[in-house]
Point group: C2
């Protein structure tokens, strides 16, 4: 990877005072010669999609985008970047919310879009081997076609890439049963910042032959290596889904219901979603989503279970719920009688995706808290946001907020806004300081499932000690001493 | 931590030409002054138990054993070791089979035996916080007393320490349902080789605030840090256990039964143990364990499921099994009618613990293989061992072997021996080379659940590439540049 390649190619862009160096351009041209013309797009050739992720920041055109066909191509790209001192950012489906895949000026984007497709389903091992650039939904369908189940699921399933899901350790709706993305990974192929290819495509549930290296790359947001291939763990396909929408009289009852679900439904319990009355009101009154349970309750819970036999598990779920009604724990409840009912219950929870239409410009937050403290946090956070002093808003009504989330997983989402302000004018700095300040006070995490990227980096110290962050830096320096792979992300 | 402390204490041992240096002794005396007399035992004071683990090697008296009361004490001990250039080995229950906790001459053993006890059970979070030196069984009982369940279980439960379980990423019997020890950990407190205390006592299922540092210390056998406290994930307590002992006509039927169990029992499936006919014969004829299923079958499978309602799950299990009988998949089967029956089935599988009485001196192996290839491996391995040329043994009957294991987890155990030879005379080198050579050929792992320690270090390269091992060394150097914490273990 030297500067000896053809620098007169038609797509070369001229170096300027502030532009790329001759070495950078020569290196990219040489890479193009090695990987093929379509694999390296330079300057204005860089497509719009590679200029941003979904973190609501302004797009930035990187110096180039490289689209390798395999790990060897990624290795060549990273070696080229190292030789020319160029910074690189890995890109998958570009659906990330925290800026992890967004390029900076002068960087090289390494997109996995051409490394897409399922390589193998091994039904004896119950594993699926896949290229990192494959959309999540393609993985789910391939597992389904083989009579098996890939448990990770989230809203962006059609466009997010499985490699990105792993690099952010994605969560989603069924973590309480199947775990985060991390728990669904058995093997990885990864390219280190220096171009070394680490092939650990393990298919075995038990493998204690030395350090479990794959853990380094899951959840580190492309800062320690680029994941190129993955062996995923599949599960048996659920044969039926039961769901209930429950109303209870307070958070103590939410906790009692959660414990009853853990013990009574055991491993069938697949989701435990809680909605606060402020959220419920917006969804049922303003978004006009139909609800099978009435207004005026202290808390609403969507409980879902997946079973293996409808004839057995359906009545069991119904009986479990009836016993809780008799105990007086539930003030109201509706049980899904059909898949349409299940989807109807989820429509209440998924309505948050439409909030821009419903409540206008707002900021979404994703935090974790110890489950027992979530209601106190929500109460204090709501009051603190209202008390914020916002120009043009009456005192005591500064920032409004509503609360909901995957409470069985400790994961609270909240949406905050000041009425009448554009998105750009929303008091994000005050929101951040108020919300993350309280998260710190309550011993929570500033990121439950979306990662840190650049957008939450400032707040990492609210959830991690100096010693923890220093250890993260030690790892980063050990694997990427030049600091060229996705620098400034996470830490 | 200087050499200024009292070196005239009554328990000081005199330095000799080959013995500890004056700096080492002064450092240990200073540590004793800091941590208390009983916390530092020097020279002949070192108890027998701290001189070895369970890896069948000769005991070695370390220079000293330090028994801190908390992370600060562990930190002081590691800082003292670093200052004096002393190597340290962490010790828990000392039940490890691969030499990970065995000291070497001149080392300091850091024993967690005084850091024992459960700190808290948080039923809302469904977590248990515990000191690393606590026996596994104590953890299990504390969870049970709180109406919850800690899922890790293995034979040494009464004496192994939970910190050791994590440092080796222990497996056991129910990995197919609950995962390895790694999957049961939410937070850790760890002391790094330089004495830095990393406190990450996270209780939240979802927490993506930066790199997941705890993963580094789980399964790295005390080479990167010493685990001092742990937050464990608890599950709902199973309310009933169903089990069946099945006989099938070959390994294809084992795989069909496994797939039927995954889809028909779903997450209730808690164990899938397979016994080969050679193992079955030893257990039923030589160990005379009663079996509810007759001789002469190609393969025996113990299927276990845990349910939440005996009235529902018991009949469901029975119906599932009957359908398989009708399909002709099972040649014979017995269903447990009582907990005593369940224990009776497990007695067949657990009989391997008594093999020294039954088959005399032998060597036990713990390997993993892709599930679809295990039968071919077992066939080839048995033939290759018999073909070994062993002095005093007839040609073609060199080394005998029998096969069994947690096949649902990809984990095969095998026991090998040459009749008439003492343990010391068993042809272990030939066994190792034959067995691990085939493991490599079949794409398996030389350690499924016991770790590497010193005993399998020579064979790590059979399951890990040079690039993988180099990355392990990079991590080791980054965290322990002086190479003082458990050096020579794993890598």
């Amino acid at each position: 990877m030297t500067a000896s390649a053809n620098t007169n190619a038609s797509h070369a862009i001229a170096p300027t005072a502030a532009g790329p160096t001759a070495l950078a351009l020569a290196t990219l041209q040489a890479l193009r010669a090695e990987l093929g013309h379509a694999a390296v797009l330079i300057g204005d050739e860089v497509p719009e999609r590679n200029r941003n992720d979904n973190s609501s920041q302004l797009p930035v055109r990187p110096l180039a985008v490289v689209r390798p066909a395999d790990a060897a191509g990624v290795s060549a790209a990273l070696k080229a970047c190292a030789a020319a001192g160029l910074k690189a950012v890995p890109q998958g489906g570009l659906t990330g919310l925290c800026g992890g895949a967004r390029p900076e000026d002068g960087w090289v984007a390494i997109s996995l879009e051409r490394m897409s497709g399922v390589q193998e389903v091994d039904s004896a091992s119950s594993t699926l081997t896949v290229w990192a650039g494959t959309p999540l939904e393609v993985v789910q369908r391939a597992a389904d076609a083989a009579g098996l189940y890939f448990a990770l699921d989230l809203g962006a399933r059609g466009s997010c890439a499985i490699g990105g899901n792993l690099s952010t350790n994605a969560g989603g709706n069924r973590v309480i049963r199947y775990g985060m993305a991390r728990e669904l990974v058995l093997g990885l192929e990864v390219v280190l910042p220096d171009g070394t290819i680490i092939t650990s495509l393990n298919k075995m549930l038990k493998n204690n032959a030395g350090f479990d290296l794959k853990q380094l790359f899951i959840g580190s947001e492309g800062t320690l290596g680029i994941i190129t291939r993955i062996v995923l763990r599949l599960h048996g396909k659920p044969r039926c889904t039961m769901a209930a929408l429950c109303a209870v009289d307070g958070y103590d009852s939410v906790l009692a219901l959660l414990n009853a679900a853990r013990s009574g439904l055991g491993p069938l319990l697949s989701a435990f979603e809680v909605m606060w009355p402020d959220y419920w009101q917006v969804v049922t009154e303003r978004a006009r989503v139909q609800a099978a349970v009435g207004q005026g309750h202290a808390q609403y819970v969507l409980v879902e279970a997946q079973g293996t036999d409808e004839a057995v598990d359906g009545p069991r779920f119904q009986a479990w719920l009836e016993a809780l009604m008799e105990r007086g724990l539930l003030k109201d409840a509706a049980v899904a009688q059909s898949l349409a009912d299940v989807q109807g219950f989820w429509a209440l929870r998924d309505a948050c995706a439409e909030f821009f239409q419903v409540i206008g410009p707002h900021i979404s937050y994703d935090v974790s808290l110890p489950i027992g403290r979530i209601a106190d946090f929500a109460r204090d956070c709501k009051a603190a946001l209202l008390a914020c002093d916002i120009a043009g808003r009456p005192a005591g009504a500064g920032i409004e907020s509503i609360y909901y989330g995957h409470i069985g997983d400790s994961n609270l989402h909240l949406v905050a806004w000041s009425d009448g302000l554009s998105l750009a004018d929303q008091p994000k700095a005050q929101m951040d300081a108020t919300i993350y300040g309280l998260v710190q006070q309550y011993g929570g995490s500033v990121s439950a499932e979306h990662g840190i990227g650049t957008q939450k980096r400032k707040w990492l110290g609210h959830s991690r000690s100096e010693a923890e962050i220093a250890l993260m830096r030690t790892l980063k320096s050990a694997l990427d001493p030049q600091g060229l792979l996705n620098p400034g992300k996470v830490i």
